[in-house]
């Protein structure tokens, strides 16, 4: 078929490819490629004389060379010239070669704008399609700026063919990713989406439109709401009526790709409230869920296609949660169980992933029956942890984590600890983290918690992040009854002659603080404690040694009989090459000469940590964290290495975590959260500068005064602050005065803000300055949220519920808050009051209702007064967690309120 049908590859090209294939070594290949490049360069030097045939041939050679991984630095112009040719065949080669060679280079893209534009306006469908394909695949700012109008024209043109239009819609999507104002929802829906989705003969167009909707409607679901019933009808036709042209049937399944895309679009919206739609949707889902029941799939592809649709339908059902009837939920569980038990690795993987989602949903909504059903298959999941496939092991681990609750926490943690012995290297850190989170979340049984964490440190010390043992210290310090137990446990752990570095650290800390329990209980003598720590002195790192010295200082105060030993050690370190150790040793040494009263004042036992910090560790405990949050956690772990015990701070002897430094939190988010609900505060601080802010808001306007203080001993010059507003939040910023920051002096700048419409995103402030000839850049968020312009309103609960229900079909945003439970409801009320949400607590203290109005400066033409947007907030709390729901007529107002409340509660 090839020879008869496919025009043969050009002879020169074929020969070149053959030559390259014949090269045995990379050097040979390089020599051959360089020779060819030299040849092409020479030919292109006199490009005018080249025949079209040769130009195409050389273009392909360049593409081939580029694909092999060699650099191609020239020839782009010739390829662009090919694309601008009037000849269709040259144009085709030019466009495709450009698509590969140019990558996403914006400078080169600028050179082809004119060619693309003339092709887009030309009447030739062929040229239009090539231009659209290229623009879609390359995208980028330059093309978006220059070509948006032309692309949209082709998209909306009534005479555009379906094959052109499907390319145009995806091209518009590609440009939309750069500029989200590009597509006007109502125009897109009425001209393109709805007419396309109402027919079923051009399924390619449907596919492209659904692919576009999936992205654009996710950004603003309300604006595209009108398409919802149309998608359901389309799905009905495909799934139930199967009125699909035969060419779109894929291994006996009616266009599975359209089915999946349609389900994905439906997932952007809540379960429909309209009874008719609801009935159709349930009917469709039932049909899809039973598609694999009775037929024996004829081929791998058929079952794959069926399963692809099935997985998407299951996701949708899980998303609806309690709203679908029990029977359907049971069906979903049954399918997932079947998946997990199959030998097909792919299906097993998806089954485990689906079950993980299901378990999270069931935990969130408290569906005990579903959790029980999942738990029946605990054994199968446990077995999958040992699967030969790393991807499956990862999914099984996630599922173990999601299905853990109070009832089976001990069992699951026990199994995971056991699993730690055999786990593969790349899952080890994840396993350790998950065990620690589960322990923390279900840490009512303190000895169990202490034992498990100590065990983790002993067996997988390298994988235990700092904040994990800091958290242990907190829990022990805050619980009187745990102290003696922890001291005994850690004493036992310190016994072997060689232990992990982290063990020494936690051991030194706990024995220094609580070792006296052991002595008082006559279990060990003071000397035993000292020896238990000191036997590790030789091989411990300097940072660890510093903690050990501190423990000695604490011990010697209580037990003067250790004086000689301790003095010996301190003396030895007084000339340590490590400045920190040296300083510590000298100071402790000197302190020992002081009177006891002063010593006692310095070595006071640690006070209890504020519990607010404590539960933060559970923040990392979002079931099955998304990769972003995992990354964030990793990053936090890294930043935390900075030493929470404050050893670096030479002025202080108290080995306390700095109160401002929240566990597992980026300090910036803490600062921001505080400033969002206070009239003034610190927004940012590092070793160069401190940025403070004062805020004043009145109705839709606000004034912010920023103070930038130079903390260093030298001059910071060329200081600059830039804040750019947007159409929702107008920002007028005065420049920073003076622009040269003298040592320990302050500069200030003011920013005036006006809210024109509700917004969800924060506006960034960029601060830059030059320190010692090096530019430093600081990015912080402007501490202005949509709630900054709120004015509280309150009405009785019944009234609230009525309004809440009335807004039922408007935008609702919800989020679980895992770290804020019933216990801290009063603190929540205080924060929400500060946010001007006027919270009222229900009689049973489990539901918080708040209402506010966002003031804008936009004048409502009907009333002639500035427009206000109402926002309703409802928070339901149970012990240990709560969930937050926001309803508003405007999506940005809802999202903005939700994120602000979430951010502020984060530091509770």
């Amino acid at each position: 078929m090839v020879d008869a049908f496919v025009p043969s590859t050009k002879r020169g090209l074929r020969k070149f490819i053959n030559d390259v294939r014949g090269c045995n070594t990379l050097q040979d290949e390089q020599v051959r490629v360089r020779k060819e490049l030299a040849n092409i360069r020479q030919k292109f030097a006199n490009a005018k004389a080249l025949k079209a045939y040769d130009r195409k041939k050389y273009a392909w050679k360049l593409v081939y060379i580029y694909m092999l991984g060699h650099e191609v630095e020239f020839g782009h112009m010739e390829v662009i010239n090919l694309a601008s040719s009037k000849n269709n065949s040259e144009k085709l080669v030019g466009y495709v070669a450009m698509g590969v060679l140019m990558g996403h280079d914006e400078d080169l893209a600028r050179l082809v704008i004119n060619t693309i534009r003339s092709d887009l306006v030309s009447g030739s469908a062929f040229a239009q399609r090539l231009a659209l394909t290229f623009t879609a695949n390359v995208g980028g700012h330059e093309l978006t700026q220059a070509l948006s109008a032309d692309v949209l024209r082709v998209l909306y043109l009534p005479e555009s063919k379906p094959s052109t239009r499907r390319k145009a819609t995806l091209c518009a999507l590609s440009l939309w990713r750069v500029n989200q104002d590009l597509i006007d929802p109502s125009e897109y829906l009425s001209v393109v989406a709805i007419p396309a989705l109402e027919q079923t003969f051009e399924m390619g167009l449907n596919l492209a439109v659904l692919g576009t909707l999936k992205s654009v409607a996710r950004a603003d679901p309300m604006a595209y709401q009108a398409v919802y019933p149309v998608v359901i009808r389309l799905l009905e036709k495909v799934v139930l009526g199967e009125s699909v042209p035969s060419t779109y049937s894929y291994h006996g399944v009616a266009c599975p790709l359209v089915q999946v895309r349609a389900l994905e679009v439906l997932a952007l919206y809540d379960f429909p409230t309209d009874a008719e739609l609801r009935k159709t949707l349930v009917h469709i889902l039932t049909k899809v869920l039973s598609c694999n029941d009775d037929i024996n799939p004829q081929s791998m592809n058929q079952s794959n296609a069926n399963n692809a649709v099935l997985v998407e339908a299951i996701n949708l059902v899980i998303q609806y949660g309690e709203q679908v009837d029990r029977e359907m939920m049971e069906k979903v569980v049954a399918i997932l169980v079947k998946f997990v038990r199959l030998s097909d690795a792919n299906v097993k993987y998806l089954g485990l992933a689906g079950m993980s989602k299901l378990a999270q949903m069931a935990q969130r909504e408290g569906l005990a029956s579903v959790l029980d059903m999942i738990r029946d298959h605990h054994h199968t999941v446990r077995q999958s942890l040992e699967d030969q496939d790393g991807s499956i092991r990862k999914r099984a681990l996630d599922l173990m984590f999601s299905m853990c609750d109070k009832g089976n926490a001990h069992e699951i943690v026990g199994e995971l600890v056991e699993y730690l012995k055999t786990v593969s290297y790349n899952l080890k850190a994840d396993t350790v983290r998950k065990i620690a989170i589960l322990c923390d979340r279900f840490s009512d049984d303190r000895p169990w918690y202490v034992d498990t964490i100590l065990h983790l440190i002993a067996t997988a010390g390298d994988f235990v992040p700092e904040d994990m043992w800091h958290r242990l210290v907190q829990v022990v310090t805050n619980n009187e009854d745990t102290k003696a137990y922890a001291a005994a446990a850690v004493y036992k752990m310190m016994q072997p002659s060689h232990v992990h570095e982290t063990t020494i650290r936690v051991g030194s800390y706990l024995l220094g603080e609580f070792g006296y329990f052991l002595v008082e209980g006559n279990q060990q003598s003071a000397q035993d404690l000292f020896d238990a720590i000191n036997q590790h002195l030789d091989y411990a790192g300097n940072k660890t040694r510093a903690m050990m010295l501190h423990a000695y200082a604490k011990l010697v105060l209580l037990y003067p009989q250790l004086h000689e030993d301790v003095t010996l050690v301190m003396d030895a370190f007084r000339d340590s090459s490590d400045p920190e150790l040296q300083q510590r040793a000298c100071e402790y040494f000197a302190l020992a000469q002081q009177d006891r009263v002063r010593q006692q004042a310095v070595f006071e036992p640690m006070p209890a940590f504020p519990e607010a910090q404590g539960e933060e560790a559970a923040e990392t405990a979002r079931p099955n964290p998304t990769p972003e949050s995992v990354k964030a956690v990793d990053a936090q772990v890294e930043t935390q290495v900075e030493d929470l015990l404050n050893l670096a701070d030479k002025s202080s002897f108290t080995p306390a975590p700095e109160p401002e430094l929240k566990f597992g939190k980026e300090p910036r988010r803490v600062w921001l959260a505080n400033v969002l609900c206070e009239p003034k505060g610190v927004l940012f601080e590092d070793h160069f500068v401190q940025i403070g802010v004062q805020l004043q808001f009145q109705k839709a306007a606000g004034k912010l005064m920023f103070f930038v203080g130079n903390k260093t001993g030298w001059v910071l010059d060329q200081a600059l602050c830039t804040v750019l507003g947007n159409d929702a939040l107008e920002v007028v910023a005065q420049p920073l005065e003076p622009a040269v920051l003298q040592p320990r002096a302050q500069s200030r700048f003011s920013v005036a803000v006006t809210c024109h419409k509700p917004f969800a995103d924060r506006v960034p402030i960029k601060v830059s300055f030059q320190a010692n000839g090096q530019f430093e850049f600081i990015d912080v968020d402007l501490p202005v949220s949509v709630l900054s312009f709120a004015s509280p309103c309150s009405f009785p609960d019944a009234d609230f519920d009525q309004r809440w229900d009335a807004m039922g079909d408007r935008v609702q945003q919800t989020t679980p808050l895992d770290h804020v439970g019933l216990e801290r409801i009063d603190a929540v009320v205080a924060k929400l009051t500060a946010l001007k949400l006027a919270p009222t607590l229900s009689a049973d203290k489990r539901t918080l209702r708040g209402a506010t109005t966002i003031q804008t400066a936009t004048v409502n033409p009907k009333t002639g007064k500035p427009a206000v947007v109402g926002v309703l907030v409802r928070m339901t709390c149970v012990a240990g967690s709560s969930s937050l729901a926001v309803r508003a007529v405007n999506v940005a107002a809802a999202v903005g309120t939700l994120t602000t409340v979430k951010d502020v509660l984060l530091v509770l």
Partner: protein, 152 residues
């Protein structure tokens, strides 16, 4: 959406690559190296999905070639495999029992066909007939051109 699509031979040679998101050249080659070593080392019995950075890799081996699609976290893995299979079926119909050599010597054809199936990381046509119809139109145009040249 699909972030990139790769065709890699068992020896680790790139036969086709297409990125749908901006990615500097150097990173592309680094990614290809990383991804191919990850995938070539997987045993044939394990599943076809792999978490990689913040993405998921879905791959399938056809004879000596690995077809790899990199998708986002929330995308449907099986669907990605079916897209790949759809691409392979189109290649197969076009070349008639496609083999790696066809793709080596006619790599540009593979790009034409890919452009008819996927743009901006989304699927645009799932009917093999429609895809091949467009490609044969293009071929016919190319041939006419060549012939016209020869006569002229």
């Amino acid at each position: 959406m699909i972030n990139f699509i790769l065709l890699i031979s068992r020896q680790g040679k790139t036969r086709l690559k297409k990125w749908f998101v901006p990615c500097p050249e150097r990173d592309q080659f680094r990614t290809i190296k990383e991804v191919s070593s990850l995938i070539l080392n997987r045993s044939p019995k394990v599943c076809n999905f792999l978490e990689w950075r913040d993405y998921k890799l879905c791959y399938k081996r056809y004879a000596s070639l690995f077809f790899i699609a990199c998708i986002e976290q929330n995308d449907n893995e099986l669907l990605a495999l079916e897209m790949v299979h759809h691409f392979v079926e189109c290649l197969d119909r076009y070349f008639g029992n496609v083999c790696e050599l066809d793709l080596i010597f006619n790599f540009h054809k593979a790009y034409y066909i890919l452009d008819e199936i996927l743009i901006s990381g989304e699927l645009q046509e799932s009917s093999k007939r429609a895809v091949l119809h467009h490609i044969s139109e293009q071929d016919a145009m190319m041939q006419e051109n060549e012939q016209a040249k020869r006569k002229g």
